[in-house]
Symmetry: C2
Subunit: 339 residues, 2 copies
């Protein structure tokens, strides 16, 4: 298991404290579902050693603020907002995908039911806006940042729409896959960087460059997720084995597999994805086919392509050496992580 790199734990305490402050005065049980999701309490309300996930997005937000010469403390409310948006989408995603486990724990809906899970997610999305209000910026910038977050959330929702819609379709092209992933993952990662750089008062060109960097990083991130959805170990990922295959998700290896098989293999894939047979043997045979045609290596290769593109954009930006190093630690982690 690849350890969480130091760069991802550097700000964790402050991000966690900022998140807790957004929830501080919210006492109804509604908010306990959120505290549970973040790992601060168990389902009975007892305090836990908190673990709020990998915090990649808020870390990127703070790093972007620093990279353009700002004080990263100024961006903390935005970082917390972005983490709330991300986790809002996870809580709803677990409901939509019927996933009972995340981060080695029962998902919110599997403890409190789907109707309340929807409420928990909705509250998180609104608390993100509350957090944005804590930014010490001009009202005009406040509006700009709010708009960025809203637009990223809209793309996120579109991505979720495609993700579910594609479950029923076999003919997903790489272009459609990228559109889905752009919304589902890359948009919010790009937004994290853009927001941080805005708060740090970066030059327009640098802000735009960091956003572009974020898009590529986001694609790579999702592709690694797709990889781990098939070849990751459940004990590392905290997700059920082969869950993506069972839910007929059109991840990159699968899109590649459908495009690059013929004859008997194609027939097996078509049968699996059209009929949705759910037995373990059917799932295993899909995985065997994907491995046989090199979908695993292909996924690693394309992930690497996006990582290198991100690297190229980064190198062209007028940033300090330490910022570039911090970012490159993150993209190495993204490309190589096992969880």
């Amino acid at each position: 298991m690849v350890k969480l790199p130091a760069i991802l734990t550097r700000y964790q305490g402050e991000i966690d404290a900022e998140l807790r402050s957004v929830l501080a005065d919210r006492n109804s049980l509604l908010y306990d579902m959120i505290r549970y999701h973040f790992g601060w309490i168990d389902e009975k309300g007892n305090p836990l050693q908190g673990w709020a996930g990998k915090a990649i997005r808020p870390t990127l937000c703070l790093l972007a603020c620093e990279a353009v010469g700002g004080n990263w403390h100024d961006a903390l409310p935005a970082a917390a907002a972005i983490e709330l948006v991300h986790n809002y989408s996870l809580v709803h995603d677990d409901i939509q995908d019927d996933d009972r486990e995340r981060r080695h724990r029962p998902t919110v809906w599997s403890v409190w039911g789907k109707p309340q899970g929807i409420n928990a997610g909705n509250a998180m999305r609104m608390l993100a806006n509350v957090s944005i209000r804590h930014l010490d910026v001009t009202p005009a910038k406040q509006v700009r940042i709010q708009s960025m977050l809203d637009e990223a959330t809209i793309l996120l929702t579109e991505g979720q729409y495609f993700d579910i819609n594609y479950e029923k379709r076999l003919d997903i092209t790489t272009k459609e896959y990228l559109q889905m992933v752009g919304g589902k993952t890359a948009a919010l990662i790009a937004c994290s960087l853009e927001t941080g750089a805005e708060i740090g008062k970066g030059a327009r060109k640098v802000i735009d460059g960091l956003r572009q960097f974020g898009w590529n990083l986001g694609f790579a991130f999702q592709m690694r997720d797709d990889y781990l959805g098939i070849w990751g170990k459940p004990e590392d990922t905290g997700k059920p084995m082969w869950g993506d295959i069972k839910r007929r998700k059109k991840t990159l290896p699968v899109v590649y597999g459908i495009e690059n098989t013929s004859g008997e293999m194609k027939k097996i894939l078509t049968r699996f994805y059209n009929d949705g047979v759910q037995d373990e043997e059917g799932v295993a045979s899909v995985v065997r086919i994907l491995e046989a045609i090199g979908a695993r290596e292909y996924t690693v290769k394309v992930t690497g392509h996006y990582i290198r593109e991100a690297e190229r954009i980064l190198t062209d930006l007028p940033l300090g050496q330490s910022a570039v190093q911090d970012f490159s630690r993150i993209f190495h982690f993204i490309a190589e992580r096992d969880f």
Copy 2:
């Protein structure tokens, strides 16, 4: 059937046009679910004679803007935003309550499934923010109005949380009922008036007064809804017969019934609400008990109390005669409507 009063159709065309403009450039199928919900298209995408509900909230927003001397056209983006927030909550509520029908049509989730229904609602909530951006106000006021809308949505979510939570409880007090209704209904109605008056540049005292007026109107509105949930005709309300009873909702007549029965009647209510027996005879016997103990008259009486309180607040505000008349037409409709 009480007809929709002219005051509620006066701005309907402009509100509808404003809503359509928010969605104009959004072409993915995700947005067709929203168009379907608003009654602009059928499930296959064919255009329909649009009917976007009663539009009470956006109308109140525009009226408040006018009442304080503003130009109601200026408040249209806020009115559209409020209608989007209201309908976001309806789309999610139908999922949470498992309701297959609304406004005499299949609900969004019953056409596209619950996972996509969640996405449709989420997109609507974000489009409300997009609409707020169309306001021609200073950034500072933009932020203030956005905060009001967010805070109302948070209360809405809390109200939804209580609403579902109370299904499993028998001991709901009137105070708890009012807290739920405050969030679920009154907060957004109060927000509609407050927002409109802010955009119309009303004096602080008048804005606060209109908000208070809205809270009382909101309570009355929900109580009438509670009434119609038991004694309304499905052909008028567009909702299934006795749906509130079947889902064990703690509406005002039910809270009153539980508090004011004893002996055999209490036993029947307790059995129904604790065991959740769903047969028609059980439901009918609950309704008979509520009628026998006067829950129907009680609900009408309490609704009237809030209407009169709203009226009193309104009369004390320095508003023109025509504004007061417009508002009073709305609260008479709210108290007497059959749908």
